[in-house]
Assembly symmetry: D2
Homo-oligomer: 407 residues x 4
């Protein structure tokens, strides 16, 4: 009797070979495809999987869930890994894992299989998410399986296996890098990008055009946030959008045209390796800039600092695959609470790769024009500042007088 596996299937060469290999090992395989906005002919992939021998193909449109429950919270928390990466892939993994585990449960399967490599982050993100959601699930990771990796030492072995097993192979030559795409971003790594001093070629980028070829006319928009999350965008042409997927799609379009959101970084993987990644994240970059602006406008100074330290922790948790961990859940709940006070509108200009804040307004800010004005005293007593400074100086003066000094 065969055991049932749910395979995270992409339609590509790797997971097609894995599908066949699993079947050959006696498993019954259900292919799961989560639609999180990647460019993909899902119906063609379904046919391909069934032809190879999948017992079933589940195509799951999880775009709305992805944007509303992963991307929007990430924006509202200000998540950013090592100061630059907006976590587009990291956020997709727990969302897909929910789909995988639901598929496991609905189909009485025992296994999840995936095609993530053995040196990367995604294997960790998938598996930690799955183990948390269903502790008894068993996981098959062929790229860490001794037999599998002995058989498939390089791409040539996959192509040969595909040919032998009548698995159709794309005729277009493989790009000399790998990529991962969703509604939030596309990431590129490996291949020619492994040399960190190699400039990424212009034809690598699929979501954004080069700032060099972007319109010479700036685009202006307004973004409204409620509880830290985007709730409305207004374009200059009068159109406006409120649904999460619509907002992100439209901003991807605007950002993409204007060359916004490309980064090229060397990052620290969870496993301790340094790796080079190139990312394009047009829409979410616009949102991140706008939210960052509104947040300092709205949040209390000290709450902001606590929030930043929780953000830094959560950014690492999410990157490392701990979205559903106790610390992930706890931190998210604390940050949700801070986000309650981030409400208002940010005006932006987008132009040749740059996103510029032009102004902001909010009903939840403690900004007090009257109090801060240089032209009037308002309730402020300048003499109080003297006492404030003198007390701050007390400790410094004592230190200066002490026997031992750092200078």
């Amino acid at each position: 009797m065969s055991e049932r596996v749910v395979l995270a299937y992409s339609g590509g060469l790797d997971t097609s070979c894995i599908l066949k290999w699993l079947i050959n090992k006696g498993f019954e395989v259900i292919c799961y495809m989560g639609n999180i906005g990647q460019e993909e002919d899902f119906e063609q992939a379904r046919k391909k999987a069934l032809n190879i021998g999948a017992s079933k193909v589940v195509i799951d449109d999880i775009q709305e869930d992805f944007v509303a429950n992963y991307v929007w919270p990430a924006i509202s928390y200000g998540l950013i890994y090592e100061n630059r990466y907006l976590l587009g892939t990291s956020l997709a993994r727990p969302c897909i894992s929910v789909g995988l585990i639901n598929c496991v449960k609905n189909n009485n399967a025992s296994y999840v299989a995936h095609g993530a490599t053995g040196k990367g982050n995604d294997q960790v993100r998938f598996e930690l998410s799955c183990y948390t959601l269903l502790p008894d699930v068993k996981i098959i990771a062929p790229w860490r399986d001794e037999e599998f990796i002995a058989k498939f030492e390089g791409r040539q072995d996959l192509l040969k296996y595909a040919k032998e097993n009548n698995i159709p192979v794309s005729v277009s030559p493989k790009a000399p890098w790998s990529m991962d795409a969703n509604l939030m971003h596309i990431s590129y790594e490996s291949g020619i990008l492994e040399k960190p001093d190699n400039e990424p070629p212009e034809d690598l980028f699929l979501m954004t055009q080069s700032p060099q070829f972007a319109p010479s006319q700036a685009t202006r928009i307004e973004i409204l946030f409620e509880k830290g999350k985007p709730s409305l965008i207004k374009l200059n042409d009068g159109r406006s959008f409120t649904l999460p997927v619509d907002i992100l799609t439209v901003l991807n379009d605007i950002g993409g045209k204007n060359g916004v959101g490309r980064i090229d970084i060397v990052e620290n993987r969870f496993l301790g390796l340094k790796s080079r990644g190139v990312y394009e994240t047009p829409g979410a970059t616009i949102l991140h800039v706008a939210h960052t602006d509104l947040e300092t406008f709205c949040l209390d100074k000290e709450v902001y600092r606590i929030k930043q330290s929780l953000r830094d922790r959560l950014s690492d948790y999410v990157y490392n695959g701990f979205w559903f961990s106790p610390e992930g859940i706890y931190t998210r709940r604390c940050l949700d609470f801070a986000a309650e006070q981030v409400e208002g509108t940010v005006k932006l200009e987008i132009f040749k790769g740059s996103v510029t804040v032009l102004g902001r307004s909010s009903n939840t800010s403690t900004y007090n024009e009257d109090l801060v004005s240089m032209d009037r005293h308002s309730t402020f007593s300048p003499q109080d500042a003297t006492g404030f400074i003198n007390i701050q100086a007390l400790r410094l003066k004592e230190y200066h007088k002490s026997a031992l000094k750092y200078i």
Copy 2:
């Protein structure tokens, strides 16, 4: 017998009136002008001060000190306030304070006077620096003096006082905002900027031109860092620079032409007020982007995280005026030590407001192309990742099984 005051003199209306007012109160006043790269006719200011009655005018070229000992360390630490402000004014204050206190000591003075306002940060930065450097110094802050602020309620009172006292006044009308300039940046605040939703007018910016009018050809440069500090820049035309002031000046020129480094933010002042500031920091923004890239490339993953948390602390200390405090000195020493490992070259493209990293190289990075490559196993055993993930999952599974959950 008169008491001797060293006045931080700018040549402008405010400090000229303060100079006269101090003289009228019976003080002997030495005017101190620190040249930190602001546009200023220092000789004309000297003449003006002597005409008003200053006993002496000291013009102190501290540009080299400012760049080498304040800006360069700040770049090497990655200092940034509330995620956006590169601290151009905050860094200048302790540098000028050293000049002021040296002037106090050299001239046997007892007082420092300054024209900083009573609601702002600069009064704190000047005074904490001065008190730390010379605990017994006395400070006169006219804008917190009851008598002075009763006399000078608005700009009209200053103009009237200037006229009565034969103090020459600039004929060009005052801009509807205030500004502070040095070799690193210009900051703008107050006046029409006090409405946080008002877009800053294009003619406000003096160091940068608008990205809209920037060259349509990108500029490429290379920056070499030693111990985290810029040590060499190479331009495409073959020129290269190594002296700190030269590097910053050239990068200001490149960044300024290409519209780099403008920000418009609402920030939290040390006194607890939220205030709106507009900044342009062309050269240091280029350096910040380059350094950020090299740092994640070179530093160990965990050292990087410790370093970031120290950076966040120091950014607040510097903003608040605690450069010379025990915690400021301690943090800087710890960060200097981390910076020892940040060495290498970053290639950049600068174009219409954007700074893009094109590649980086270093001899002190643990980046290992062979180890991270997707195409070969190197010393990496994929099976180890299985153990790693399973152990990480242990705690998560136990949590999932526990009686009480956060979800």
Copy 3:
């Protein structure tokens, strides 16, 4: 027409003189006495205040509020200042401030007056609490009033003023230190304690007897916690208690007899001064030890670490008087959420100054005896540890091989 002041009145010499002085300045003064468990003859104090000229005396029993809403949360958060001080006075101040401000509102007063000194923390705690609860309240702090401190340079001046104004003075000689008492603790400072090398005399302590004279038989108790707060104590004699004030009173009695909870420290005041304080906190020390034990037993490892960093922040906020600040409220809400999982029972032995944990049990702990046992493998695969360690070692090996090292 007189203006109305609510005075935080203690019945002692200082606040009695302040009462008279305020009346002499034309104020109508309502005396407010918050009963937070200090030893005090409140009715005699009432009579005294009325005799001096108070228009009204409000005696407010806030013990229940103090224990339930300030001490219990502090225990559940694990609050501790600079690793040792359990914040007994700091917690009382916001609680009394609520009483003061209610009294202000109920009596249409405009002012709060208090007898806290100008160098201490309590002035800050009272005033920040009052200003937050009622931003328009005005505060009179005689010990910072130039006229008052010129008049009352030392204790002799107070005694003389008392005599002149028929204010009765205690016949017992003043101890050569000052103290502050409530249901949680007594603090001692100043006078002979100002020499940090002076051993506090044994007759200073009022809540605890010396461990030297404590019973030679240990006392055993059990404490049950719900949501991190003590909900039940069981004594060996069969008695048990559930009400907050009862629990704290009984534990003060047990701890006091057994010499528990004395500390002698030099601490950093908010104003930047270092000061020496001696504290005795018998009951809350027992609770702190028990809670610390249960918390590591119940909380997830990583949640515990986040919680500790929030605890450290909140300890400073509370010490500095920011209980009602945005950051205080935010941090408390985050910590309340973590405390939800801290439930169970701790067994303790109390003996001659020591509190020893004997065992603990909980339904919300992820402790898994089967999994951790050295005698069986359970679901644990030892081989996984190999992978875990090898992956952890990857980064360390790369570092060792890098060109530049810290060693």
Copy 4:
């Protein structure tokens, strides 16, 4: 040709069986015994190992290194894991690893083998230390070896194997727990201690007697610290000690007699398991209390806070086995720098389980008796406190007035 292994040998049943098993597998085995102060008949162990078939036995007295370079720094940093555990075992592991790796190098060996279990922390500490010190070393961990653990399922299998291989076995029955001892502490775990509600039996403790049976006369001592490390202890009988091993031995004796330093905790292991440990750490507990006191006396308030956060990080690093990691080295260097200012003397009383600070003195403290005194104003202006408080209140008042509140 046989390959050479250095085995961390204890002389006990486990490592004796491992020794034989390695020999039977064809290895040449050198036994390494690090003397870090545990009670052990090293010469008898040497004979036993040679009889079993070790090619060589290296007995290495590393007590001085252990105390001077691991325990003393830990005291000066204030290291403590999860608020209670002083890291006695964690500190010994890197010290022993240096000995092991030196032995590997001196004897041209390729392997290190150890008898640490597969669920514990020590395997990680040994292996990460060894891999960092010598990245190419290979490690044999029999308790994670499939063949070995299949063969030795329980203690009976070890006893049987010992009998079959003429390995002498101790006649005294094994205690129903395991222990690890060194000059700093003894730890106890597993067996009957695995039930977290089981009280540890009195006969478990070997370094300390029960507070119940401790002398009824308190012991007074003085400890002098230089750069944060103990440099001199003075006893009441006139004796004094300066050498690290002497100081720790004498304090172990004093603490042991007086029942000091027992803790019973549930801790979070690096692998994510919660485990129960009982520890006795008499001398180092006395030092920890004294150092904690001196440190807040000497360090600047804000430096202290930075230092505490680095201490918390380093405590985790050390517990997890990262003493020699980049982050471990970096943090230690930062903390060394802070420790430079911790110099002075602490007077203590030790009595029936308690360590009480009686006073402290230092030449490097900024404590200023004149400034803090309640009896005189010194250079302090009470009016400054008014300004200080009013400025602190600004933000709180604005927050109170804002539209949205947390309360």
